[in-house]
C-alpha cells in the first residue's frame, strides 16, 4: 500500500503548498506550513529515514513554526499600534 499512501500524501502536500502561498491570511499560512512539515515527517518515516523524520519534526516543523509565528506577532502588534 505504500505507493498509494505516498501518492495521497503528495497530493495533500501539493494542495497545502498552493494554499500556503495563495492565502491572504498570514497566520493561516503558518499553520498550514506546519501541517506541510507534518506531511513531510510522515513521508520521511515511510522512506525508512527516522533520523530525518525526527529532525524535521523538531526543527523543520517545531522551531520554524515558532519563529514564523513570533515574527507575525511582532508585525501584528505594530500594525495594531499604528
Amino acid at each position: 500500500m505504500i505507493g498509494l499512501i505516498v501518492l495521497s500524501i503528495f497530493i495533500t502536500l501539493i494542495i497545502l503548498a498552493v494554499l500556503i502561498i495563495s492565502n491572504e491570511d498570514l497566520p493561516h499560512s503558518v499553520i498550514l506550513f506546519m501541517g506541510f512539515g507534518l506531511g513531510s515527517v510522515i513521508l520521511f518515516f515511510l522512506f525508512s529515514a527516522p533520523d530525518v523524520a525526527l529532525t524535521e519534526a523538531v526543527i523543520g516543523t517545531g522551531i520554524s513554526g515558532v519563529v514564523f509565528l513570533v515574527t507575525l506577532l511582532q508585525i501584528r502588534s505594530k500594525e495594531v499600534n499604528r
Binding site: S22, E24, D51, A53, T55, V58, G62, I63, V67, L73
Partner: protein
C-alpha cells in the same frame, strides 16, 4: 481564498510558465535515470560495525565519516544566532509578547519541564543506538525552555553568562575532540576510544562524546534563538 483577479498578473504568468517549463524538463530528465546501486553509503554500511561501533549508521556518517560537515553545521547555527542577536539585542526587554496568563499551563510546566529535559538528554545520549542525536535532543531541550517562556512570562529568566559559557565551551570541546584525534590517531575526528560492543550504551568510541557536545551547543543556541524571538519588545 484564491483571488484570481488580484493574484494572477502577467508577471506571475510569465514566471510560472518559465519555472513550469524548467520543471517539466527536470521531470522528464529525472524519470529517466536509474539511481546508482553502489555508493559511498553502501560501502559505509559494509564497514560501519567494525570502524565506528555505532548501531545507527546515520549517526556514524554524521559524527565520524562526515564529522567535519557537522562542525560546519554547528558553526552555521552559532553564526546565525549571533547575527540574530546583533540585530535584535536593541529590542530586548523583560516583557515577552505572550501577554496572557494560563494557570493550567503554569502548574503543568513544573512537572513537564524536567521530563522534557530528561527526554532531550535521552535522545542525545542514545544517538548512536536509535534515531536521534545531538541536534534533535538539543532542540527538544530548547523546546522545554520555550514552554517555560510561554508559561511563566517574566518570572523565568536565563542566566546569560552560564549560557554563553556552555555555548563557548561545548563548541570548543567539540573541536578539541577532533584535535585530540589529530594528535593521537593522526587524523581529525578519528576515534581514540575503545569501540565497545555494538548496541551497548557505552559503545561507539567518541561518537557519544561528540553528540553530547553537539547537543549542549545546539540546546544553548536554540534556546537563545527562541529567547531572542520571544522577548522582542517594541522600544518605543
Amino acid at each position: 481564498m484564491i483571488n484570481i483577479k488580484k493574484d494572477i498578473s502577467i508577471e506571475t504568468l510569465v514566471v510560472s510558465l518559465l519555472v513550469s517549463v524548467m520543471t517539466i524538463m527536470l521531470i522528464s530528465l529525472f524519470l529517466n535515470f536509474e539511481v546508482v546501486t553502489s555508493s559511498i553509503g553502501t560501502e559505509i554500511i559494509g564497514i560501519n560495525a567494525d570502524t565506528t561501533g555505532s548501531a545507527n549508521a546515520v549517526t556514524s556518517v554524521v559524527t565520524y565519516f562526515r564529522g567535519f560537515d557537522t562542525l560546519g553545521e554547528v558553526t552555521i547555527l552559532f553564526l546565525s544566532i549571533f547575527g540574530i542577536g546583533l540585530g535584535l539585542e536593541g529590542y530586548k526587554d523583560k516583557l515577552n509578547i505572550f501577554a496572557y496568563e494560563n494557570q493550567l499551563l503554569k502548574t503543568a510546566v513544573d512537572t513537564l519541564f524536567p521530563l522534557i529535559i530528561l527526554f532531550g538528554f535521552y535522545v542525545i545520549i542514545h544517538g548512536h543506538l536509535s534515531p536521534g542525536g545531538g541536534f534533535q535532543g538539543g532542540v527538544i531541550i530548547a523546546s522545554a525552555f520555550l514552554l517555560m517562556f510561554l508559561a511563566k512570562n517574566d518570572d523565568f529568566a536565563l542566566n546569560h553568562k552560564i549560557m554563553g559559557l556552555i555555548e563557548a565551551l561545548s563548541g570548543a570541546s567539540f573541536i578539541l575532540v577532533g584535535l585530540l584525534g589529530l594528535l593521537i590517531m593522526n587524523r581529525f575526528f578519528d576515534n581514540f576510544l575503545p569501540l565497545g560492543t555494538l548496541g551497548d550504551l557505552f559503545s561507539g568510541g567518541v561518537i557519544p562524546l561528540i553528540y553530547i557536545f553537539v547537543g549542549l551547543k545546539v540546546s544553548a543556541e536554540i534556546t537563545a534563538l527562541v529567547e531572542y524571538f520571544v522577548r522582542i519588545k517594541d522600544v518605543k
